[in-house]
Symmetry: C2
Subunit: 145 residues, 2 copies
């Protein structure tokens, strides 16, 4: 499967979040062409402001694989990670990060500027199905106003 195809599955997760009135961000974690974890934001459900899609997929993968590092895995997430999730991805030594829409408000870049917060070996690709990923977020926050 291609990055776009995996991102479509992450978008489906984001849509589930949207339907549950959670911030519509979804993630898929893939290892050797196998989906190890699917997740969406569950901040409201879990009453946990750190229950972001990325964190939930990472912890599921650590448990499922019995490994605390994921150098051969790829995380697909519909929105650019925040500072916390970037730090978690650093610790995971994730092999590849693919995100959809940039996030001007909460992106790690707002804090780190030109400093790369990820593991030096992590490949980072942004902008995959960016418009669809961004539209979900825009619609969600427009409805909240």
């Amino acid at each position: 499967m291609t990055d776009e195809q995996y991102m479509r599955l992450a978008i489906r997760e984001a849509e589930i979040a949207f339907e549950k009135d959670e911030v519509p961000i979804g993630a898929i974690l893939v290892l050797n062409n196998t989906i190890i974890a699917r997740s969406h934001n569950q901040v409201e459900l879990l009453n946990d402001s750190t229950a972001h899609a990325e964190i939930l997929s990472l912890t599921t993968a650590f448990n499922a694989l019995g490994s605390k590092y994921l150098p051969d895995a790829t995380l697909y997430v519909t929105v650019e990670p925040c500072l916390m999730c970037s730090g978690a991805l650093y610790w995971s030594k994730i092999g590849k990060l693919v995100f959809g829409a940039p996030d001007e408000k909460n992106s790690y870049r707002k804090y780190t500027g030109d400093v790369n917060p990820f593991h030096p070996k992590t490949i980072v690709i942004g902008g995959v199905l960016q418009d669809e990923c961004a539209l979900l977020m825009k619609t969600f926050f427009k409805n909240k106003r």
Copy 2:
């Protein structure tokens, strides 16, 4: 109880981590003079590279209090938080963060420079029982070599 007294309890948690061959960092989360959570690094036990003391105390507190924000709570942690934990503390809107030893290698400051990653209302105090907190870390990593 004073900040130093709470930090002593966090150091006790770090010592438990040390005994279990985990990176010796401990945390205590306090609300209204009541200890809501005690934790230490459990990266090895949980096979989870994100199982830092701060994260474990935060998630325990979210669960215990049924609240996703902790504006009136104080987190005591023996070592300066990493980027991930700083981001988690941001989302938690923690009222006050008290840390012991600075961490040149993994501190959030390495990435954020002069940008404050915490919630604007979070009070940050560093250096409480700094030498004791640092000694545990130094001894741990010296033994590893």
